[in-house]
């Protein structure tokens, strides 16, 4: 009997005011501790789906549940403080020092200063940054890879049960990306966080995720382990996608 899902989407749809259908009714369940990758081209709805999970997008139909509770009934601010988030470009606040960026959510949650600072040092070393050299710098003084590490540290700082990653490795050069992949797998092993990763890179998804959901045109075509996808693609698009990867 598998554990209760930490995150569930039930028939989630999103239609914008101008009639554009971004999501055409998507259902999935993410179990505690697993990493699910959402793969698809731009416009497939993967980012929109991700944004319904932390109430950044309000579904026009269907329901999102976190830890069994419908998101629509929760205070979005409180919910977001319990969900880690890393966007493609880090989204660090440019006029804040690294330490202040990392301490953001703990501060919002009212942690005391000393606890915040200790936590910030711990998080920075967890993502492989030396707190003594980096904590007092500004984001612009760091490399792209370092900034992305800080973004991970910030997402993890308040120890949230769920982490949402929106193309977090997309803007990095190949070497840095590989290094961060390795770091991610280490963290995954040591922290066991429930994670949803949005990416357009199938190889990345195969490498990092426990299960992969393939999206296209606002629909989830297939959700399964990398093995399941490789052995029995449920849709010609999935098959074609896998084919392309092989070439």
């Amino acid at each position: 009997m598998p554990a209760d899902p930490l995150l569930e989407a039930a028939g989630v749809a999103k239609t914008y005011g101008d009639g554009t259908v971004a999501l055409g009714g998507v259902s999935l369940a993410v179990r505690p501790g697993e990493t699910v990758a959402l793969v698809g081209e731009s416009g497939s709805g993967k980012t929109t789906l991700l944004r319904t999970f932390n109430a950044m997008v309000k579904p026009s139909a269907g329901e999102v549940r976190v830890e069994g509770k419908p998101v629509s009934g929760l205070d979005p601010i409180a919910l977001r403080r319990r969900i880690g988030y890393v966007p493609q470009d880090g989204g660090l606040i440019p006029h804040w020092r690294i330490s202040k960026n990392v301490e953001l959510v703990p501060r919002l949650l009212g942690w005391e200063r000393s606890r915040r600072q200790a936590r910030s040092r711990e998080m920075l070393s967890l993502v492989g940054l030396d707190s003594s050299t980096h904590a007092n710098r500004y984001p612009a003084e760091l490399s792209g890879g370092q900034r992305q590490r800080v973004a991970f540290a910030r997402a993890l700082a308040a120890d949230p049960p769920l982490i949402l990653l929106d193309e977090p490795f997309g803007a990095l050069d190949a070497l840095t990306r590989l290094e961060l992949h390795r770091q991610f797998l280490d963290l995954k092993k040591s922290l066991g966080k429930t994670t949803v990763l949005v990416t357009h890179d199938l190889a990345e998804a195969f490498r990092l995720a426990d299960r992969i959901g393939v999206m296209r045109g606002g629909r989830l075509l297939q959700l399964g382990t990398p093995d399941e996808l490789a052995k029995s693609p449920a849709d010609p698009y999935v098959e074609a996608l896998l084919e392309m990867r092989r070439v």
Binding site: N54, M56, I77, A78, L79, R80, R81, R82, I83, G84, Y85, P87, D89, G90, G91, L92, I93, P94, H95, W96, R97, L104, V105, L108, Y138, P139, A140, E141, A151, R154, A155, L164
Partner: protein, 519 residues
């Protein structure tokens, strides 16, 4: 930093309130139009009232024209100013000028009393109307006393008239009909050139204002309008009825001037202002002394600036310039502070209500294109003359750059950082305070800086509606064709603008959040 800004704001607002004169019961405000004779007469009124009453006299000299003066008088911003009966009839009542002086006076008197309770006091004794003048030696040779005399010989003569005069029914066209005045030839000349042309005898007759000081300088004789063709422009004090009720002594004291000045006297006095570069305060005192109306006898003329160069002039006028600079800064600072107080919240609100943003900003942009002088004049019916309408007009000008920069600065503040902060659970208020505003601060400050330079520059025009400032010597200097005086206002005003720009540029750099270098 916040405390300093707060203190500065309190100072500025305090100044703005203090600078707006309260209608003190024992105060009287004298206005004038922006030409020498009007200023001189107003100054004479002022000195006479200072000497012979207990009233505190305030001067608002050089207001921009009849419309401004009249509106100011009507709404009580000034209590009295010198006006001409013909102007009252033609420009204010919009009636056709006709008849002898007494008829015109009676007409404006009764109309002004019944419509606005404004009192024309007894005329001062001279007219400043359109007249025809000829070189004195020509008049002597041909025995010319009147225009009728001129008509006898005009076929042999060469006329030189202003563009306006030639084409008007109440100008040359009418003269031809009434007097049969026909010249051998007629030149159209700029007014400034007419006198020189007459001196060189390139023209034999010209249109003049009867009390122009240059009539003396160029030795011209004014011919009597024996058929009363030109409308009478008798000078008189025009006073508010309410003022006379409160302070009847104003009517009595100004009545001392009734019939006391003739055209010759006025020409001589005007000449001292036009060509001698003397201040109206000095000339007015001399005139009153000559009339035996001044209590102070023998005292030499007060401060008279007679430098050899602009620097000497500036040094001589340093006290006045210091006061005017403070006044100028006060006007600008008050307008700017009020502008910031209104425009920054408006910019923030527009960022929340984006569909209104473009419309509102565009409307403010349209205000920006209204000529400054027109905007100042527009304020008069609502706010009178002086400090208040000037601040209001400058305030309107300051809004556009501040609103626009606040709106775009906050709107465009690092969207990715804002997005991430939202997703991590910051409230919109926290994001505004901690992220958007600090990031937008240099942009908002740049808008304030633009507004400040604009305001300091435009504030020179405030002198036209009697608000003082460094525009005062510029406006007066323009009227007196006194370059040193013009520069004594223009140079400090330009320096002030540069200083304000540099100072706010420094603040702008200080406000730039750390961590943004090289981005």
């Amino acid at each position: 930093m916040c405390k300093t800004a707060g203190l500065a704001l309190v100072w500025v607002l305090g100044w703005a309130i203090l600078a707006t004169p309260l209608a003190a019961a024992d105060r009287i405000v004298i206005g004038s139009k922006n030409f020498e004779e009007s200023r001189l007469l107003a100054e004479m009124f002022a000195q006479l009232l200072e000497e012979r009453t207990q009233l505190q006299v305030e001067r608002r000299l050089g207001l921009a024209g009849t419309q401004v003066c009249f509106e100011a008088l009507k709404n009580g911003a000034i209590d009295v100013y010198p006006e001409y009966t013909g102007t009252g009839l033609v420009s204010i009542l919009n009636e056709k000028a006709a008849g002898p002086p007494a008829q015109t006076l009676n007409r404006v008197r009764s109309e002004f009393l019944s419509r606005w309770n404004l009192w024309w006091l007894a005329p001062l004794g001279f007219e400043n109307s359109w007249e025809i003048a000829v070189p004195a030696e020509l008049a002597e040779r041909e025995h010319l006393e009147t225009i009728s005399d001129l008509a006898r010989v005009s076929k042999r003569l060469h006329g030189g008239f202003g563009h306006e005069f030639v084409g008007r029914e109440d100008g040359l066209l009418g003269l031809q009909k009434i007097y049969g005045l026909e010249f051998g030839s007629v030149d159209h000349l700029q007014q400034a050139l007419q006198y020189q042309a007459a001196k060189e005898r390139r023209i034999d007759a010209l249109d003049v204002y009867s009390t122009d000081g240059r009539l003396i300088l160029y030795n011209l004789k004014v011919l009597r309008d024996d058929r009363r063709f030109f409308p009478p422009y008798e000078a008189a004090a025009l006073v508010r009825g309410e003022t006379l009720k409160r302070h009847p002594e104003v009517g009595t004291v100004l009545g001392l001037l009734a019939g006391s000045l003739d055209e010759d006297t006025m020409r001589a006095l005007n000449l001292r202002l036009q060509e001698g570069h003397e201040s109206e305060a000095v000339v007015a005192r001399d005139a009153l002394r000559k009339l035996g109306l001044s209590k102070e006898n023998g005292r030499t003329a007060q401060r008279e600036i007679q430098g050899t160069g602009i620097l000497a002039y500036l040094w001589g006028a340093r006290r006045d310039l210091g006061r005017l600079t403070l006044q100028h800064l006060g006007l600008s600072a008050a307008a700017l502070a009020l502008g910031a107080l209104f425009a920054i919240p408006l910019g923030l609100w527009l960022e929340r209500q984006r569909r209104w943003a473009e419309t509102v900003i565009r409307i403010l942009g349209i205000f920006q294109t209204v000529p400054s002088l027109a905007l100042l004049a527009f304020m008069i019916p609502f706010l009178g003359v002086g400090t208040l309408p000037a601040i209001a007009a400058l305030w309107i000008y300051s809004l556009f750059p501040i609103v626009r920069n606040t709106y775009t600065g906050v709107r465009d503040a690092d969207p990715k950082a804002v997005e991430a902060a939202t997703a991590l659970g910051m409230t919109p208020g926290q994001i505004l305070r901690e992220i958007r505003l600090p990031l937008a601060a240099p942009v908002v400050m740049a808008g304030l800086r633009t507004a400040a330079v604009l305001t300091v520059g435009t504030a020179t025009l405030a002198a036209f509606i009697g608000a003082g400032g460094l525009g005062e010597p510029i406006v007066t200097g323009l009227q007196l064709a006194n370059t040193a005086m013009i520069l004594s206002g223009a140079i400090p005003a330009a320096l002030l603008a540069l200083l304000v720009d540099a100072g706010l540029g420094w603040v702008e750099r200080k406000l730039r959040p750390a961590g943004l270098e090289g981005r």
